[in-house]
Amino acid sequence: MELNYETEIDRSRMRVSDEVAIRIADMNKWYGTYHALRDINLTVRRGERIVIAGPSGSGKSTLIRCINRLEEHQGGRIVVDGIELSSDLKNIDKVRSEVGMVFQHFNLFPHLTILENCTLAPIWVRQIARNEAIETAMHFLEKVRIPEQAHKYPGQLSGGQQQRVAIARSLCMKPKIMLFDEPTSALDPEMIKEVLDTMIELAEEGMTMLCVTHEMGFAQAVANRVIFMDQGQIVEENDPHDFFNNPQSERTRLFLSQILRH
């Protein structure tokens, strides 16, 4: 899908600072004997918007799931916001409350209303007063433009609305970093734009973002770096303009020719 956002995007607040948000050094991961991630080195600075692309099974989802320890890595280091991820549960919980995550299948809690979905973690993890949590939740629901759905259940919303709720739910924890794991892959074409719009607004506010996505229009418009992965390793890392117009590796060229053919 071609999206032309170049003109509408407000870049005034999209500033990348020198401060390091995530540092991944020589990281390796195995599933049993399968070597899923190989010698990953990646530094993300605050305010960066990174798009991770690659064929399926290339390890891109695994990579961002390692950042909030949904997957355990077996070698190397991952430091998120100054906290090193190890088997220490306290550190893991600390990192998870600073890092928001949006999933392909939304993963909203179907037994709770939209509002309760958004207030659950602030109340139980951040121990914020209920009223204050509701206020914050309504603020973010307005931001993703569905405050009127607050008292409905996830099952009553469309896919695009559910994904926007999922984004609002993450934002309610006031995260410093947002991870997106193919946020638009499970959506009908009509709904992809509303989710991407929300993500673009987030980028405009200077949020540090890592997105695994196949939306190349979004990558071109928003990302300041595109990472291409294949067979568990980073094959190419480039700024979006060069990535799309002048890819360096043969593998990247092949991938781009396949997804941009239509």
């Binding site: 809690f109 973690a121 993890v125």
Partner: protein
């Protein structure tokens, strides 16, 4: 050859219209459900004939029933050879079927306990009931124990004090980490129960003697017994089953192995074996001279049995949840226990409601098995009623009464579970 322009543009959108006549209402129901074709018409007519035959053959027996008589022979005299039930036995012996050999002057105690039980269940079963009543629900087990068994009030009070001691220790020790705190709290409560509780009970009893005439377990029977065993088993097996189900899915090998061994062992053994163990073998293993109430032993065994089944039912519910729910809870920073309590369990239990209630109903009916170890459940009492000269040879009437009462309890549970499923349904509301 049809000549037309392939382009089609709808000028205006079509409004929704009523369905054609005959597609709704009673007529359609009759036609579709009862007389759709020859076979269904035949089945409808046959079923009607069978239904009428059953009603015609049973109704005289029920209609001509005798309610006023002192023995079966008197019943037969009144009937004078006609077919008729002799429900006089129920009128004569219903208190025994309900209470066993509980002292008649004290009947008000189990009745009050039963009424209070309904009150205690209300806030748990129906959310509109004020939450504050939950305090009463928590206090009810002690109160019911005191009402039914009698003795001094300070015994259950001091047992509750043990829980309070545990809670205080837990609060003081939270800083040492949750595992250590739970261990210390458990130790504190046990120390209280084994070393302090007895002395405190005696002291308070002398200070302020609040006691009811004690009733021994031997005197209890009938539905009182079934309800005591059933309700205790039900309310304990659910929380224990949850813990065991989580244990079985735990990543810690020791916890997992223990849970699996427990579940598989208990499920692999008939309940009756466990009951015999409770009544006979425990006497050999316990130090001589220990008086360990038989009803209590039976409750423990029934609870363990139900717990193993409950754990498997709940494990089914847990397995049905998509992995994404765990991941979303984790990604939001909820720790294991909070994720279980707020996200996983509400959904897993909802999925398991039919299975859970199935286990509950099974457990409640299985309480009649205690007849084999000499406890006087309703079936045992029906035998002893039949053993008297007055009512020798009476079967149907007693069994109908007992079956009817069991049916009321089990059917209410089933209806409640359906109500609960409807209430918790959030997918397409």
């Amino acid at each position: 050859m049809i000549d037309r322009n392939p382009a089609f543009v709808r000028g205006e959108m079509l409004p929704a219209r009523e369905p054609p006549a005959g597609e709704t209402g009673l007529l359609k129901l009759l036609r579709e459900s009862f007389f759709k074709d020859w076979l269904s018409a035949l089945l409808t007519v046959t079923s009607l004939i069978v239904l009428i035959w059953i009603v015609r053959s049973v109704s005289p027996w029920l209609i001509d029933s005798v309610w006023n008589a002192n023995s079966l022979s008197e019943c037969r005299q009144i009937l004078g050879g006609a077919e008729g039930a002799c429900f006089a036995v129920i009128r004569d012996r219903w208190t025994q079927l309900l209470f066993g050999f509980y002292p008649p002057t004290q009947y008000w105690r189990p009745v009050l306990a039963f009424a209070l039980m309904l009150l205690a269940m209300a806030p748990i079963l129906f959310p509109p009931v004020p939450r504050r009543l939950l305090w009463f629900s928590a206090a009810f087990p002690g109160l019911a124990y005191w009402l039914i068994w009698g003795g001094t009030l300070w015994l259950p009070v001091s047992a509750y004090a043990g829980l309070a001691v545990g809670a205080i220790v837990l609060r003081l020790a939270t800083r040492l980490g949750s595992g250590v705190a739970i261990g210390l709290a458990l130790a504190g409560a046990l120390v209280w129960w084994f070393f302090a509780s007895g002395a405190v009970t005696t002291a308070l009893g002398q200070l302020l003697p609040l006691s009811l005439a004690p009733v021994t377990s031997r005197e209890m029977g009938g539905f009182l017994l079934s309800i005591v065993i059933g309700v205790t088993g039900i309310s304990l097996s659910l929380p224990l089953g949850i813990v065991l189900a989580l244990g079985r899915r735990s990543k810690m090998p020791l916890v997992k192995t223990l849970s699996v061994v427990f579940i598989e062992f208990i499920r692999g053994v008939p309940l009756i074996t466990l009951l015999f163990t409770a009544s006979l073998l425990l006497n050999y293993f316990l130090p001589p001279g220990t008086t360990f109430d038989l009803i209590l032993r039976v409750i423990i065994m029934v609870t363990l049995f139900a717990t193993a089944y409950m754990a498997e039912v709940i494990r089914g519910g847990l397995a049905a949840l998509p992995r994404g729910q765990y991941e979303a809870a984790e990604a939001l920073g909820l720790d294991y226990w909070k994720a279980q309590r707020l996200v996983i369990m509400p959904q897993a239990l909802k999925i398991s409601i039919p299975g859970i209630v199935n286990s509950f109903i099974g457990l409640f009916k299985d309480t009649t098995l205690v007849v084999f170890i000499g406890l006087l459940d309703p079936i045992a009492l029906s035998n002893s009623i039949r053993a008297t000269t007055d009512w020798q040879g009476i079967y149907w009437e007693l069994f109908i009464f007992i079956g009817g009462l069991f049916f009321i309890f089990c059917f209410s549970m089933s209806r409640y579970s359906m109500h609960l499923e409807r209430r918790l349904k959030t997918e397409h509301r």
